[in-house]
């Protein structure tokens, strides 16, 4: 059997197709404005990569902030639950999960595979991938490179502001004072790590800790976070797909709960069609 999970995040969209035991394939692409068209396109790509037809997928679950825009999904599940499930599959002993996404950041507590508590920053860019993008743009460095660059720092700068706008100004001010980019970036990573730590500590950080989400691909941030937490954390092989994997795991679980006949009916009724926001009737812009 095949189970699919789609995670439509604010910045990146991910698809995981898995069998009962293993990840069969995954696709990662940037999220655009048109979630519905993207979901369809990415699913086609994933199916092609997996050498599967749409009809072979037994159950599909969508997650992430764009989850309601996947018309062909059988069900939607919140990303908090999906991240927890995905990490639990990789690391069953993990008790605390820190997810650094494009536009939000979460702390999740797990106990024997159960979601027992969570905390989330969803109103402020500080502590998210967006913050790193803004800073890298301001400093004229590629966002993929800022982690490695920061590791060369010998004297991390003190960046006191936690607001994205003010931190950007502060970084530029340090630059004008002659502080090296390495030290500024290391200071920025420390600042973000402190902010994330303070938020997640509200639910009591317990060993073992897993780090996930796109932000963790930044080795500088990862190092700063581990230093702040006080011990090393585990990171999945591809931290971007944890939510999509969790969704696929939920899909597997739901299939186990419904009878075969119902499953077959569902599969027959499901359509992978190119649906867009703009094909659904007049909008204000088009019809006054």
């Amino acid at each position: 059997m095949f189970f699919a999970g789609l995670d439509i995040g604010s910045t990146i969209t991910k698809i995981v197709i898995k069998t009962e035991d293993e990840i069969w394939t995954s696709v990662i692409r940037p999220t655009g404005a048109e979630h519905r068209r993207l979901a369809h396109k990415l699913m086609e790509e994933a199916l092609q990569k997996a050498n599967l037809t749409f009809g072979q997928l037994d159950y599909i679950i969508a997650t992430g902030y764009g989850r309601i825009n996947v018309p062909f999904a059988d069900r939607q599940v919140t990303e908090i639950s999906c991240h927890m499930r995905g990490i639990n599959w990789f690391f069953p002993g993990v008790k605390t999960i820190i997810d650094i996404g494009g536009q939000d950041c979460k702390g999740i507590k797990v106990n024997n595979g159960k979601l027992v508590n969570f905390v989330m920053n969803d109103k402020c860019a500080a502590g998210t991938g967006r913050f790193l993008e803004v800073i890298s743009e301001a400093l004229g460095v590629k966002v993929e490179e800022i982690g490695d660059i920061s590791l060369r720092s010998t004297n991390p700068a003190k960046i006191s502001s936690l607001c994205t706008v003010f931190a950007e100004q502060e970084a530029l001010l340090r630059l004008s004072e002659g502080v090296s980019i390495e030290d500024i970036l290391a200071g920025i990573h420390r600042g973000i790590a402190t902010r994330i730590y303070s938020m997640v500590e509200r639910i009591n950080i317990e060993k073992e800790v897993a780090l996930t989400g796109g932000g963790v691909k930044n080795v500088g941030l990862r190092k700063a976070l581990e230093e702040r937490i006080g011990f090393p954390a585990v990171v999945p092989p591809e931290p971007l797909i944890t939510g999509a994997l969790g969704a696929a795991l939920f899909a597997q679980e739901y299939v186990g709960r419904i009878d075969k006949k119902e499953l077959e009916t569902r599969k027959k009724e499901r359509r992978l069609e190119a649906v867009t926001f703009f094909g659904e009737g007049p909008t204000r812009g088009q019809n006054g």
Partner: protein, 452 residues
């Protein structure tokens, strides 16, 4: 944009017939004050003083309106934003109380209109006041709000003090009686102020009647709360936030008392016949503290999606458990009765606070008592960027609930008036995930031998 917002808003669906009728009392207050103004009778803008100041003003023939209640109304019809913007333009920061900003923006509009009600004021608007009745209860920011307001409206401001006793101090010998005497002396000064301002004497018999009626209304409101312990829940927060208007603002009104008798009968009927407020009740949650008035439909949605019933909520809006008979024995002075009533509001759950070692008793300990009595599966915490008193105890309450009763809490930020800081989609995500958490702790409570 405005049209879109209005279109998107979902009106809260009350489950009680009486709750659907409660809006009448809000309109009645506003209209009575406008009429009084027209007829040259005194009017006032009052804070919720938990009956400390309102009853005396009413006995002096003053028609009261409540900017806090009106702020909630403006938010619920999504008409608060222009006032918030106006307040912002006056230099008041967005971290200031949403009710205050709504009111200050409106006062500025009034000042521009020769201190008369602007023609487009929501619900007919707040009538021009003769004076402002402020209170130090609950929140320090409330002092400054009415002081600032007084400058726009060019009327006197009277501020009532209220001792906020610590839990251990409350149980010190003589402490309570000392505080009651203090409140009575405050009230005497307040009476003198009103007599001087209005040029007439207080009718003490009328005040006694008003106090007596208030005690009766609050008792029946409390009895409705007791009925709500039933499983399934006969009414939910969406009902309470409507029916609270009569007991919080008009407890002296015989019509409010008659209304509450009908509420009681309706809720009792539902309890006796096991009629649930929401047909698929799966989770029983408490809500703390002040709701997002602009998006109450959210709670209907989570009831439908997940079977969540908000079974008890908002301590600060509830009628207090009645004062023990022995405490009232021989007390006939209406000022002392008022003092005891208001002080009870702020100390009535101190026994629970002492039992669980929490302080302050207000804002916190009611939830510890309610968690058991209402068989709560979770606490919905709604911290407000603009309200310290209703926020600073929330996380601690959540921690104590978890520690003592294995009842988890979910934190969803927002505001009472400012819908711009409430992220509805994220709120749904959090509640959906929280359902899993409540399932988990139901098992934990079972294992630990807790009775629900």
């Amino acid at each position: 944009m405005e049209a879109e917002r209005k279109k998107k808003k979902r009106t809260s669906a009350k489950t009680l017939q009486t709750a659907r009728e409660a809006g009448y009392f809000g309109k009645k207050m506003l209209q009575n004050a406008l009429k009084a103004r027209e007829e040259g009778r005194p009017t006032a803008w009052s804070m919720v003083t938990w009956w400390e100041g309102e009853l005396i003003a009413k006995a002096m023939g003053v028609e009261l309106v409540f900017p806090e209640n009106w702020g909630a109304f403006c938010a619920s019809v999504r008409a608060a934003e222009p006032h918030l913007d106006r307040s912002h333009g006056e230099g008041f920061p967005s971290t200031l109380c949403g009710y205050a900003r709504n009111c200050l923006g409106y006062a500025r509009n009034m000042a521009d209109n020769n201190l008369e009600v602007p023609p487009d004021a929501p619900g007919g608007g707040l009538a021009r006041p003769t004076f402002l009745l402020s209170s130090g209860a609950a929140c320090d920011a409330r002092y400054k709000w009415f002081q600032a307001l007084g400058r726009y409206l060019e009327v006197p401001v009277w501020t009532l003090e209220l001792p906020h006793t610590g839990v251990k101090e409350y149980f010190l010998p003589g402490n309570k009686e000392h505080n009651i005497r203090f409140i009575v002396s405050e009230l005497k000064e307040y009476v003198a102020f009103l007599e001087n301002l209005l040029g007439k004497k207080l009718d003490w018999d009328r005040l006694s009647e008003i106090v007596d009626q208030t005690f009766k209304t609050l008792r029946i409101a409390y009895e409705v709360d007791l009925l709500r312990k039933a499983v399934p829940s006969p009414m939910v927060a969406q009902d309470f936030w409507s029916i609270m208007i009569p007991h919080l603002y008009l407890p002296d009104d015989p019509e409010a008392y008659e209304f509450y008798k009908r509420v009681y009968d309706e809720v009792k009927y539902k309890v006796d016949n096991k009629i649930a407020a929401i047909p698929n009740e799966k989770y029983r949650m408490m809500f703390s503290e002040l709701p997002p008035w602009h998006t109450l439909g959210f709670f209907d949605e989570i009831a439908e999606r997940y079977g969540i019933a908000l079974v008890i909520e908002s301590w600060s809006y509830h009628a207090i458990p009645p004062i023990p008979e022995e405490e009232l024995e021989g007390v006939t002075d209406p000022l002392e009765l008022i003092a005891r009533l208001t002080y009870r509001m702020w100390t009535g759950y101190n026994e629970t606070a002492l039992e669980y070692g929490v302080d302050p008793g207000f804002f916190m300990s009611a939830y510890l008592k309610w968690a058991k009595e209402y068989r709560a599966d979770g606490l919905f915490c709604h911290p407000l960027m603009s309200c310290r008193p209703a926020t600073y105890t929330l996380l601690h309450t959540g921690n104590v609930l978890m520690d003592k009763f294995k009842v988890p809490s979910v934190v969803i930020d927002g505001d009472i008036v400012d819908l711009r800081v409430f992220n509805e989609e994220e709120a749904f995500s959090k509640v959906e995930a929280f359902v899993e958490t409540m399932d988990h702790y139901r098992e934990v409570r079972k294992k630990e031998g807790l009775p629900w």
